[in-house]
């Protein structure tokens, strides 16, 4: 579950319901996909209400000259216009739309479900799309702008990207884009200099775009994760600590760990050895919990080799606090990913009873492959774990 994407989804649902953004706080607990399904259901419920009437009004409007429909739309207001336009043939609706000012269409957009207006959106001229986008940005209506992104052509998106001058606005729109997997493509449409500028807004404490930046970095594919993640990680230690505080405070480790794992070696070493990770047991506990919940042991364990001795000790101590079931899952990840070295190095730093517990898990792997048994025994012995292995009968 992408926590930040779920949060964006909850904002869009509140907007659709016309509810205060904090009136249904329990929605934040639901996964993004379920919130999206709920939003679609609410949207369909609202569109189905009085649909027959809207269809009749749309049929009448379709017979009137365009220049008569325009004042009628203005008199009806944005919500009713949205419902009627949604029932008109796309060609006719687009012919009317070109005569309406951008600020009025921006207010209509709030009430439109773009899935139901795909043909109409495709017929709106690019210059008008740009004007509407600028109006939505001016209104601070980023959720509505984000909802429409999936339905715009690359040409229209490029024109909007070229026209919206502030990367902060682009980040705020990107936060609400429905298809997270399209973000990769959209971000690559930005020149590299503007991508860098967007991520470096992490330095701007006043505009507080941490959630938007984290949402972007955690949603894109591996190579962009690495590019954008490296850029953020190359900043001052205080900036990275601020990011970690936010991640900790909002429970975003599950989203962030894959980004950390994608960093270049130098940045990985820098981030992994930050004092905040070493000195705050709660941070390490949350990190390990997220690694277990999101099945990220294979991403996390290689990081151990980047840690300095003191941080490894802190990491090993935190690992003693995870439950036996989690240790079993970690050991399985070790088996699959051949990550014996970092794991055994952690285990050797644990108290003897925890070493024995881990040896018990290893005992379950015996007999799978005699070569593997020999290798584990040899490596464990090199780490001084022979007494623990002997306690469970492994020679």
């Amino acid at each position: 579950m992408n926590t930040l994407a779920a949060r964006a989804e909850a904002v869009k649902l509140h907007q659709l319901l016309g509810a205060d953004a904090t009136s249904l706080p329990f929605l934040a607990r639901l996964p993004e996909t379920q919130l999206r399904r709920l939003r679609d259901a609410v949207s369909e419920r609202l569109f189905a209400q009085d649909q027959a009437l809207f269809r009749r009004l749309a049929a009448v409007a379709a017979q009137l000259p365009v220049l008569l429909v325009i004042p009628l739309c203005r008199a009806f207001g944005p919500m009713l216009s949205a419902r009627i336009v949604g029932e008109m043939p796309a060609k006719r609706a687009a012919a009317c739309a070109v005569h309406l000012p951008a600020d009025f269409i921006a207010r209509i957009c709030v009430h439109i479900d773009p899935r139901r207006a795909r043909d109409l959106i495709g017929r709106i001229p690019v210059r008008q799309v740009v004007s509407i986008a600028l109006k939505l940005v001016e209104n601070g209506d980023y959720p509505t702008a984000g909802r429409f992104v999936d339905f715009l052509s690359d040409e229209a998106i490029q024109a909007v990207l070229d026209t919206v001058p502030d990367e902060a606005d682009l980040l705020r729109i990107a936060f609400y884009v429905d298809s997270r997997n399209r973000l990769d493509h959209l971000i690559r449409m930005l020149p590299e200099a503007r991508r860098r500028k967007a991520v470096l807004l992490v330095l701007d404490e006043q505009s507080d775009l941490l959630d938007e930046i984290l949402s972007l970095i955690t949603s894109v594919g591996y190579s962009l994760k690495r590019e954008l993640g490296d850029l953020a990680a190359a900043q001052d230690v205080a900036v990275i600590a601020r990011i970690i505080h936010r991640v900790q405070e909002q429970g975003l480790w599950g989203d962030l760990l894959p980004v950390v794992a994608s960093l270049s070696e130098a940045n990985l070493r820098k981030v992994a050895n930050l004092p905040i990770l070493r000195d705050d047991p709660q941070v390490l506990d949350s990190l390990l919990l997220a690694a277990d919940e999101h099945e990220l042991w294979r991403s996390i364990l290689p990081l151990v080799e980047m840690l300095d001795d003191t941080t490894r000790n802190a990491f090993a101590l935190a690992a003693t606090r995870v439950g036996p079931a989690a240790i079993k899952r970690a050991a399985h990840a070790v088996l699959v990913g051949e990550l014996w070295e970092p794991m055994l190095d952690l285990v050797r730093r644990m108290p003897f009873d925890k070493q024995c517990e881990f040896a018990g898990v290893l005992n379950g792997f015996r007999g799978v492959d005699p070569d593997l048994d020999r290798r584990i025994a040899a490596r464990a012995s090199a780490h001084g774990l022979s007494p623990a292995l002997a306690s469970v009968g492994i020679a």
Binding site: L16, L17, G18, A19, S23, L24, F26, L27, R29, L30, P31, Q34, R37, L38, A41, V42, E44, R45, L46, A48, Q49, D50, L53, L57, L72, A75, F76, G77, M79, L80, R83
Partner: protein
């Protein structure tokens, strides 16, 4: 109790309950709040439509359409 409210929310949204399964984990009062907010959104839309029609349409047409709206469920 919360299972009944969950069924009601799904029915109000005209969705099979299993497509909204994550909602079944919500507490009764949370489901009630969600159901109430959805109903308020529907009512708000209905009121806005009525107001917009009343404001925009000339009298004979307005009476005809608002009469039809009054008969809606």
């Amino acid at each position: 109790m919360s299972a009944q409210i969950f069924e009601r929310v799904a029915a109000n949204l005209r969705r099979p309950a299993d497509t909204l399964s994550a909602l079944s984990g919500l507490a009764s009062e949370e489901l009630e709040a969600l159901d109430r907010t959805i109903e308020e959104a529907c009512k708000r839309q209905r009121d806005e439509v009525t107001t917009a029609l009343r404001r925009a349409l000339p009298q004979p047409l307005r009476s005809l359409i608002l009469g039809k709206l009054a008969g809606r469920t």
